[in-house]
Amino acid sequence: MSKIRLTPLFFRRVHKWIGLILGLQFLLWAVSGSVMALLDKDKVGGHGAGMSHSHPLPAGDYASLAALPRGETVQGVVLRDLGARPVYEVHSAKGVRLVDATTGEDMLVDQDMAREIASMMNDAPIRAVSVMAKPNLEARDFKGPMWRVDFDDAENSSAYVSLDTARFLVMRGDTWRTWDFFWMLHNMDYVNRKSFNHPLIIIVAFGVFWMAGTGFYLLFKSFSRADFRWLRRRRKPVVTRSAT
């Protein structure tokens, strides 16, 4: 075999071959990036917490703190409001227990409560409510069992409410679902759609970087003065050096 010489022809070949092997992914990156840039980020939503409302806690007496533990070692306590009624979250190694702060009784996050909490975030009528033992793809940023409340609105919105803490987790709609499909094409994590630090994408990104790099270099080799003659023709005739 002859020695590799760094000629434009060599770079053109590299560009061509990487294009053949990885070009499809570059195309997918371009189209998914384009679509994500088009989708209104406010409609996609779902990024960052702090979406839920919070009401001031009513003054007055609450169930005694000392009565909260039921034999477990308490690792944390939160007093908060839940649809204008105060509740305690009791954190322990076993998880989170919800206690009505007025009566001191344990609370269950049932379907009615899930509906009530979800309705605070969306005025549309509820179409269906289901319970999930594990988060699905749409609620993958959260942990634990949760309620899914589907709304009858234009976006086909679904609200997710934690079964342990009754906290509103996230709202997902059709714009987000479209966005998420293209985000999957972009991050190449076809199973979990979450990681963009896996070996496949690193290898492909490395290859595509060389395709772009050689392509950029070839720009300088592919254009001649003749290509820009149309620009010059429009200018006022000025005295130029003769093109000998």
Binding site: A30, G76, V77, R80, L219
Partner: protein, 234 residues
């Protein structure tokens, strides 16, 4: 005259590439950085210690209702620790405030020395604290977060910096050189050179679709780029 497709497609590819070439190169370069350095490292997870889980003896503590009475409008009261002292953290309309959980008395805002001690506890590295400052305006790297906050910078090549709340001494954010590079790469990637957050800006929309067209023309060119027969000898 019949259209000479290979020539037309090649010209389109070339001219589009002339327009978007720099950005396409930047996309692959910044993209490569963002996929190669793990996001947990970027987030600085290795810089901070997760606080050890400790139990509370609830029978010795004050009632959170006392905190609600002392700070009307409080929406949440949370039991946590401030330098080993159990405290109630109240989310008040004026921002978070701390109360001693044993007495329900308000705790004064942490001093600079206490902030240093807290930062030392959180930080996993061995480096010394280089500077502690109470900032009243947000630097670019704190994005939309509202000042004031304590900025504690540690010694080290990556200039690790912790941001703590002046009201509660809690960790708000952590920054370091790799995060700052990532943020810069992200800015180049989404072409929002101002706020670094708008992924819908018109410039990005035009250049992404142009790049898509350029890539499509490139893919089309592949058809003629691998001749099946040997070229005729000249």
């Amino acid at each position: 005259m019949a259209i000479r497709w290979p020539l037309l497609v090649r010209r389109t590819h070339k001219w589009l590439a002339l327009v978007v070439g720099v950005q396409a190169l930047l996309w692959t370069l910044t993209g490569l950085y963002m996929v190669a350095v793990h996001i947990d490292i970027i987030h600085g997870d290795n810089l901070v210690r997760t606080p050890a889980v400790q139990s509370f003896d609830l029978s010795r503590l004050s009632q959170p209702s006392q905190v609600v009475a002392a700070a009307p409008g409080t929406s949440e009261v949370r039991l946590q620790r401030f330098l080993d002292v159990p405290v109630w953290r109240a989310e008040t309309p004026e921002g978070p405030r701390l109360f001693d959980a044993r007495t329900a008395q308000p705790i004064s805002k942490p001093t600079e020395a206490q902030i240093a001690a807290l930062a030392r506890r959180i930080y996993t590295g061995d480096g010394k604290i280089v500077s502690i400052r109470l900032l009243t305006t947000a630097p670019q790297e704190m994005q939309s977060r509202k000042p004031p906050f304590w900025q504690v910078e540690f010694e080290g090549w990556n200039r690790p910096t912790l941001y703590l709340s002046p009201a509660t001494g809690e960790l708000i954010s952590r920054r370091h050189a790799l995060w700052r590079v990532f943020d810069f790469a992200w800015m180049l990637h989404i072409m929002d050179y101002d706020e670094r957050t708008d992924v819908n800006n018109p410039l990005l929309r035009v250049v992404t679709w142009s790049t898509f067209a350029m890539a499509l023309m490139g893919a089309w060119l592949l058809i003629w780029s691998f001749p099946r027969r040997k070229r005729k000898k000249a």
